[in-house]
Symmetry: none
Subunit: 252 residues, 2 copies
């Protein structure tokens, strides 16, 4: 892999996704944080403020990043926001029982900079209640910004600034640390992975391992396991092949 190519392109491969943001000013501040670090792809999922791209407070806080603010896209669901991405990173100060693996900002940035085919989304939740469990559980990793245990609540745009800063350092090669993950094949898209999970779940019910009426935590546990691996397309196909044969077995 040509490092220069990778370096320049991370700025095009990283998306910031804000979920249900309440304050328009924070949207503007995030736009500014992104632009100062060279990023521009901003998507808002169901914002809780009216007209966040034109709001005077948003415009004021965006300052010289009006282009990033006005170029932001507003969508209704996290699935739409992740369209085109094959890696999703939830930012949260709160650790959960069925969490994807927890990475530091620096681990995220070095991973993202090192994988030229990675299209990553950094997902930040509402100012007050953060991200819903459903979104976090669907992510590949949970990003935990090291913070004061007595007060770990960074302002939304300040969390975005820290992440954008780390990603810039990695993108310009000031932060090269090897992730050491042997990654050879094409990364599976989130849609492919979701499809595989649905298929697998159906098969696990069919063989009597998963009780559809009392699923317990089986699927979240399996998702957590696979989320750690960054699945390749070929691997998703193998897992679907197994699911298909499990189902065929029952029918046959």
């Amino acid at each position: 892999m040509n490092p220069t190519e990778t370096d320049t392109s991370l700025f095009k491969r990283l998306r910031f996704v804000l979920v249900e943001t309440s304050r328009a000013g924070n949207v503007g501040s995030v736009a500014r944080a992104m632009k100062t670090m060279g990023f521009s792809d901003l998507v808002l999922v169901a914002p809780r403020c009216a007209d966040p791209l034109q709001d005077p407070e948003a415009v004021a806080f965006a300052s010289g990043a009006i282009d990033v603010l006005s170029g932001a896209r507003i969508v209704g669901s996290i699935a739409e926001a992740l369209d085109g991405c094959n890696f999703a990173a939830a930012v949260s100060a709160r650790l959960r029982e069925f969490s994807p693996p927890v990475w530091s900002p620096r681990e995220l940035s070095s991973h993202a900079a090192g994988q030229a085919d990675l299209h990553a989304a950094v997902i930040l939740g509402n100012e007050r209640f953060g991200l819903p469990n459903g979104i976090v559980e669907g992510c590949n990793v949970l990003i935990n910004i090291p913070a004061n245990p007595e007060y770990s609540s960074l302002n939304l745009s300040q969390a975005a600034q820290v992440l954008a800063y780390e990603c810039r350092l990695a993108a310009i090669g000031e932060n090269r640390t090897q992730t050491g993950v042997g990654f050879q094949g094409e990364a599976a898209s989130l849609a492919q992975i979701e499809g595989m999970y649905a298929h697998l779940e159906e098969a696990l019910v069919a063989i009597g391992f998963l009780n559809a009426d009392n699923p317990k935590k089986l699927m979240p546990r399996l998702k957590r396991l696979f989320a750690r691996t960054q699945l390749e397309t070929e691997e998703v196909n193998i897992l679907r092949g197994i699911a298909r044969h499990m189902l065929g077995q029952r029918r046959g």
Copy 2:
């Protein structure tokens, strides 16, 4: 030097100095940025806003860091602000002709964390015109946050956040690649994993997905997938449960 001693004490050895800040909201945001990273020593030099420690916008932006905000000291000169410090770092996006040596945030943080007798001040200027040359020239170093050359103007509190973040990482000795991942389960032993592979292979033959006479690369591919995850004992048990039900299906 005892690293633990040094680590804990950097939180007491680092001061943030804001010079001629115009917006009270930024003072509050800086207080929050500092507290989230474990710092509390804030000094304002000749602020250009009335009553910045009580201003409603300052209080709102400080959020859970009211103690840092209300504990800030207001002084009339940079000399007073630096009382008790033996190292001064001016933060500026603008390089100057007669500049002290230019350091990155990370260079500052590792220097400060490594010197137990260093009492350092990080000095940030006005939102519009930055720091006067006279102050910059009197500093030991100039801190330049790596930024987009086309738009390098971080909001004051976001610059403070980046610096506080780097200093926290250095203070807690976090230059490691591994995260804590505290709530992960017990790592499976190699014997457990090998047993699971044998069980899974048998099951895959049983459901007709794996042809024992012509296995191709199926098991090596699955092993490569799982090897990336560092499986936990509980996960190995789940995978064996799936294999058992795949076999049960055939026999039943």
